[in-house]
Symmetry: C2
Subunit: 95 residues, 2 copies
């Protein structure tokens, strides 16, 4: 739990998770581009998400593809869902 919340505490990680949580595979370079983050920065943030078991990764040629961990405890998935949903709602309200 502590690890999950720590992972969710950084806006860049939340943004990366928002992209990944919806499904599909995403490489670091894609996330770098979409989130305007430097390479080492993105790589380290993904490491935190991986170590919290929020995402899984696999090598695919030069790339490392990240995807949502489907075996994540449902109570914890509910936390992630709530955070991402809240963020979407609040962003909409500002815009």
């Amino acid at each position: 739990m502590q690890q999950i919340l720590t992972a969710l505490c950084d806006p860049t990680r939340r943004a990366a998770l928002a992209i990944i949580w919806g499904g599909g595979e995403h490489c670091v370079c894609e996330l770098m581009a979409r989130l305007d983050a430097s390479q080492s920065r993105m790589s380290r943030h993904m490491k935190v998400l991986r170590e919290a078991a929020l995402v899984l990764d696999r090598r695919d040629a030069q790339w490392v593809r990240f995807r949502r961990n489907p075996q994540f405890a449902p109570e914890l998935s509910a936390v992630v869902d709530a955070v991402l949903a809240a963020e979407r709602t609040l962003d909409k309200e500002i815009a």
Copy 2:
């Protein structure tokens, strides 16, 4: 959102919030006793919860009574609910 997650990131604050979130008023000295926290530590943690608008406080003679903020945005309340529920569930599994 950032402020909420930062507030939730500390285990002492989560424990205090778990007590308060259920309802009722609770003074700092009660929380100190129940969470085995020093006075300055507890006071500061409560300040973080207050500044995140998770809780409201009022003076009552020597005491400061904290209670859940009833006007908290529902999407954010959902985050708190999910976190506290997950923590309860996981604690139960360990025990």
